[in-house]
């Protein structure tokens, strides 16, 4: 049997819908994605960047990488680490263990591809050149 307080509870419930009105003036919780995005944080672990001069070619980064994502590649006669974003797990161990801070993780992280081969970061003048757009 419902307890006696049910009636007063019912009465107070009739006014709750008007409580919804205050939600009309609150900012929507949803982020309208294509038009407004959250500002990128400078500490976020996104795509890699390589400083060609600083890199000594010691490949400590490819030894410490848990997913074997960093492989040596030839570029202008010297061997540099080349990152395959299809294998990487963005754990920043390579940046932590690099003796002279050649490889770094930048906050940029828009990585969408239609074919798998373009997930490999090619080597270019200023370090890594993303093949897709």
């Amino acid at each position: 049997m419902r307890k006696m307080g049910y009636l007063s509870d019912k009465f107070s419930r009739t006014f709750t819908p008007f409580g919804i009105l205050k939600n009309l003036f609150r900012k929507p919780m949803t982020l309208q994605f294509p038009y407004e995005t959250l500002p990128p944080l400078e500490g976020y672990r996104g795509r890699h960047a390589l400083d060609l001069e600083k890199c000594a070619g010691c490949f400590i980064c490819s030894m410490i990488c848990p997913n074997k994502a960093i492989w040596p590649a030839e570029f202008k006669g010297r061997r540099y680490p080349q990152v395959n974003l299809g294998k990487c797990c963005w754990c920043q161990l390579c940046e932590e263990y690099c003796p002279n801070e050649a490889i770094k993780l930048t906050p940029h992280s828009m990585m969408v591809t239609m074919d798998k081969e373009s997930a490999i970061l090619g080597l270019g003048e200023e370090g890594f050149v993303p093949r897709h757009q």
């Binding site: 709750t16 919780m29 949803t30 959250l38 944080l41 500490g43 976020y44 672990r45 410490i64 848990p66 797990c89 963005w90 754990c91 920043q92 161990l93 932590e96 263990y97 993780l105």
Partner: protein, 369 residues
């Protein structure tokens, strides 16, 4: 409630891996009409053999790999593994590192409970609470992103402390987020936990007594809902929990509604814990100086911690080489899904199966490891 064993036409209904409520876990229900007679669990869809993989990796690589073990509460796995290794080596962590680890552990607990509110209300067909709860957990993920640089998987711990220091911006953002969540909790009280349909769907559903819960191996909020105050943060305190005052929430009905209230009040406790930690955060070193090729000495250790789901223990055997010899992760969801769920499902109806399954808050990835 005895069922006469005359000619009863049993049929098996799969509560399959592709069911919106099952979350990649398969169970065969032996059903008579709508009454579930027996449930046979079939896990294994997310089994990656974590313990085997960890034997091939060095400690820093393991710290990164291990937080993928439990998808809903990743930080508790990192905390467990790092502490287990430090116990074998007898390593001392600087004070600030302990505080930061405890803050991130409690934020992980709030994140996991917020996700659980969303999933349980989706499973009960209560979509508006699901949308709001999953919208609110963005605040905690934003904090994760500010402090550790990673959204879901912080990869934040290393043996000997934490990999980055937390900035003042993180402290201010945390206070703002915690105030917002505290306001939302009163909204959830009125909107979810006192909602008549929610109460009707979860009260007296999946009821187990204290003795049965202990025998089945329940831990965490499922056990505390049956009246036993087993909380490792109080019984075997680790990290900075001795310096924080909080109370263990127990209820004694033991049904799905009691488990939900246990978790709801645990969010409030976690918010007060994080506030206490942030107010008296010591400064100084946050990471012990270790050589890059550090190896744990020969030894064995068993470290238990209280994750959002229950008692998560790491048993680590190391033989002096940089890779651990054997790591065993005791996942709380393992017994929630494989020994409590079949016991609670007996005699309930098909409509209650998702409500029972997600009131136990078991993460399939954590169960299969």
């Amino acid at each position: 409630m005895d069922i006469e064993e005359k000619e009863i036409a049993f049929s098996t209904v799969p509560f399959g891996p592709q069911h919106p409520a099952s979350g990649h876990f398969h169970a065969l229900l032996k059903v008579e009409g709508e009454r579930v007679h027996e449930l046979e669990p079939h896990p294994g869809y997310l089994h990656r053999g974590f313990e085997k993989l960890m034997e091939y990796r060095v400690h820093p690589q393991n710290c990164v790999l291990v937080d993928r073990a439990d998808v809903l509460d990743p930080f508790s796995c990192e905390l467990g593994y790092a502490n287990a290794i430090e116990k074998t080596a007898g390593l001392e962590i600087p004070e600030r590192g302990r505080y930061i680890r405890t803050i991130m552990a409690e934020l992980g607990r709030i994140l996991s409970h917020m996700t659980w509110i969303g999933v349980l209300s989706m499973v009960l067909g209560f979509d508006s609470a699901n949308k709001i709860a999953w919208g609110d957990r963005e605040k905690i993920l934003r904090l994760n992103e500010i402090a550790t640089g990673g959204r879901l998987y912080p990869c934040y711990l290393c043996v000997g402390g934490v990999r980055r220091d937390i900035s003042q911006e993180f402290v201010d953002e945390t206070f703002k987020a915690l105030d917002y969540l505290e306001g939302q909790l009163s909204f959830y009280d009125y909107f979810v936990f006192k909602n008549e349909t929610f109460v009707m769907r979860t009260e007296k559903v999946g009821k187990m007594s204290a003795k049965e819960a202990i025998d089945l191996g329940a831990t965490g909020p499922n056990l505390r809902a049956c009246g036993i105050d087993y909380d490792i943060r109080k019984d075997e305190p680790y990290e900075a929990y001795p310096k924080v005052s909080f109370n263990v929430i127990t209820r004694d009905e033991g049904d799905a509604y009691a488990r939900s209230l246990c978790r709801r009040y645990e969010i409030a406790e976690s918010i007060s814990i994080v506030r206490q930690l942030l107010n008296n955060l010591p400064d100084g070193a946050f990471r012990a100086e270790l050589s890059p090729v550090w190896a744990a000495p020969k030894g064995e250790s068993y470290f238990c911690l209280e994750s959002a789901r229950g008692e998560k223990c790491f048993h680590v055997v190391s033989d002096g080489s940089p890779c651990p010899y054997r790591v065993k992760i005791r996942a709380p969801s393992f017994l929630h899904t494989l020994s409590e769920f079949p016991y609670l499902a007996k005699g309930s109806t098909i409509a209650d199966i998702p409500a029972i399954y997600w009131s136990l808050d078991s993460c399939p990835a954590d169960m299969d490891r």
